[in-house]
């Protein structure tokens, strides 16, 4: 525990002065702001022409009625996509920076277990991603209220908060696979390429009705209404997602422990 505490605190120290931390938070603040703008345009069709391409884009999105259920549904789907990219980026950076900054060799011959460093990195990734989820959710609610979305009820909000939280959590659980690629490729590029590929594949498998069996499509399907054919999650879906997470975690731990660090 003493070792884990030391490695965790040092992982937090490593975030000091880092622009990346602020960039990710700004990104997760920017997205709900844009979402609010889209809904605002939806509520005021007369703005479509005035706002040019943004207005046209908003009209094409078919966001549904500018009410809280539709807004929150859009927010949850947004988390499944934006979260995949944002959390993937965070994971790539936390693990990949040791290689791109060439500091990896300095943390291997220390009186701390490598597994402890890996776990600490995952804890930091987890906390960071949860905070990003909270920022995304809270600012979405704020912007929703500012633009005057109708139909607010505590029941709707609490139901969607649960769905949103679960979608975020399931997305976060996919981070270990990204960490594995960041470690084995010793950098950021491959894991980010992997994240983009999984996103494309998630859409593709969704079209084919195989989404419930593709790990990276599963978080986005958590909030899908009952009865949607080919989109219902089953116990197998959760087993697939948890297994993917576990394989990523074990793979990352094994790589740090057994690979040659040249």
């Amino acid at each position: 525990m003493k070792i884990l505490k030391a490695t965790f605190v040092t992982e937090l120290l490593k975030l000091r002065n880092s622009k990346i931390v602020w960039i990710t938070f700004l990104f997760f603040l920017f997205i709900p702001m844009m979402m609010g703008l889209m809904f605002y345009i939806q509520m005021h069709p007369e703005l479509i022409e005035k706002l040019g391409i943004i207005g046209t884009k908003a009209s094409l999105l078919k966001l549904g009625k500018a009410e809280w259920p539709a807004f929150l549904g859009f927010l949850i789907q947004g988390m499944a996509g934006i979260g995949l990219i944002g959390f993937g980026f965070v994971t790539s950076w936390v693990f990949g920076r040791e290689f791109s900054d060439r500091t990896m060799k300095d943390i291997l011959a220390l009186p701390v277990l490598r597994s402890s460093i890996v776990f600490s990195k995952f804890i930091v990734v987890g906390i960071w991603c949860i905070l990003l989820s909270v920022v995304y959710f809270v600012f979405s609610l704020i912007f929703g209220n500012i633009i005057g979305i109708t139909g607010w009820s505590s029941k709707i909000i609490s139901q969607n908060t649960y769905t949103y939280s679960m979608t975020s959590l399931l997305t976060i659980l996919l981070c270990p696979a990204v960490a594995f690629f960041a470690s084995t490729s010793r950098g950021y590029l491959l894991p980010m390429a992997f994240v983009i590929l999984t996103m494309i594949m998630a859409n593709f498998t969704g079209i084919l009705g195989l989404g419930p069996y593709f790990p990276w499509a599963i978080p986005g399907l958590f909030g899908v209404a009952e009865g949607s054919a080919g989109m219902q999650l089953t116990a197998v879906s959760y087993i697939i997602l948890f297994s993917t997470s576990a394989v990523g975690l074990v793979g990352t731990l094994a790589w740090w422990r057994f690979a040659d660090h040249k």
Binding site: N17, T103, K105, D106, A109, L110, P111, L113, H261
Partner: protein, 306 residues
């Protein structure tokens, strides 16, 4: 007392023999200079000593305990620096050292200030690592290796990037650590002239193999001396030397080289003989091989005589 030793340490990468059966032993208080050209296998050996690379065969030991990744107790008394030192670029010198202090469980917070003073990087303590010069980055790397006052130091080319004054200062520090404080230092370099100034023993590695181990005190004796002779009538002088039983060579510029050890030790005998024969020498030069030439000769990259 044996502090660092390797037994037939070997590392292959596919068909490349990066390190091939190296067995070395470093005793307490020794400064062991590990010398080799770039790509000779120095860094791979050091990484195996530090548990970063798993040997294909053989083992490395520190204080008789086998080195492997999970044997973390070993590193409490080891300070290391591998290749060019890098630190977290957005963190200051002090913050980088604070990270190492915590990971080494050093309770005394003033250890950061102490090592900053020792390595004379106080003026840069609040500067981000990415803005340090190569020399100061090297000092920060050394500070990270020394912050816990380790018994053993394993350092890969630690004077890279330092100016002559910095090299002198670090050399003095190593001497003090080994001679006065009994620390054991394993240090790699590709410059024999530099490492011979403070190492007590030198191991030369070439193409993955340890080809020579020598006490630094013996180094001078191993360096070859050559005697060159010339005279106005060079041909007659050569004939006279041959007639007196000397074995000769010839330098590229045509100057005669006397190859007999006795003549090299006593060039005055040659001078007397040539003067008495009526061919007084216009050149009588004993040339001592410098350390770099010796190193290149040992690894087979330079011929001795024509």
């Amino acid at each position: 007392m044996e502090i660092i030793n390797t037994e037939n340490l070997t590392k292959y990468y596919k068909n490349v023999h990066a390190v091939d059966g190296i067995s070395i032993s470093v005793n307490k208080g020794e400064i062991y200079g590990f010398l080799g050209l770039n790509g000779a296998g120095k860094t791979t050996t050091i990484r195996m000593l530090l548990g970063m690379i798993k040997p294909t065969s053989g083992s490395a030991y520190i204080k008789s305990k086998r080195v492997f990744a999970d044997n973390i107790e070993l590193w409490k008394n080891v300070g290391s620096l591998v290749e060019v030192p890098y630190s977290y670029p957005d963190l200051t010198v002090r913050e980088n050292l604070e990270i190492i202090r915590r990971l080494r469980f050093i309770p005394d917070k003033s250890s950061v200030d102490q090592i900053i003073d020792k390595l004379q990087i106080g003026a840069y303590s609040n500067r981000k690592a990415k803005n340090l010069s190569l020399g100061n980055a090297q000092r920060l790397g050394l500070a990270k290796a020394l912050i816990h006052n380790p018994e053993i130091l394993i350092l890969d080319e630690p004077t890279n990037g330092l100016d002559p004054a910095g090299i002198h200062e670090i050399r003095e520090m190593f001497n003090d650590l080994a001679l006065n404080q009994g620390k054991t230092i394993f240090i790699s370099s590709h410059i024999l002239g530099e490492v011979s100034r403070f190492a007590t023993r030198i191991g030369i590695i070439h193409e993955g193999k340890l080809i020579q181990e020598i006490d630094t005190k013996e180094l001078d004796k191993q360096c070859q001396k050559r005697l060159f002779v010339n005279a106005d009538n060079a041909q007659a002088a050569r004939a006279e030397l041959i007639e007196n039983g000397y074995t000769l060579g010839e330098r590229k510029d045509g100057v005669t080289e006397v190859l007999d050890n006795e003549a090299i030790k006593h060039p005055d005998i040659i001078a007397t003989m040539l003067v008495n024969s009526g061919f007084p020498p216009t050149l009588l030069q004993v040339e001592e091989e410098d350390l770099e030439s010796y190193f290149l000769r040992i690894i087979g990259m330079k011929g001795v005589t024509k």
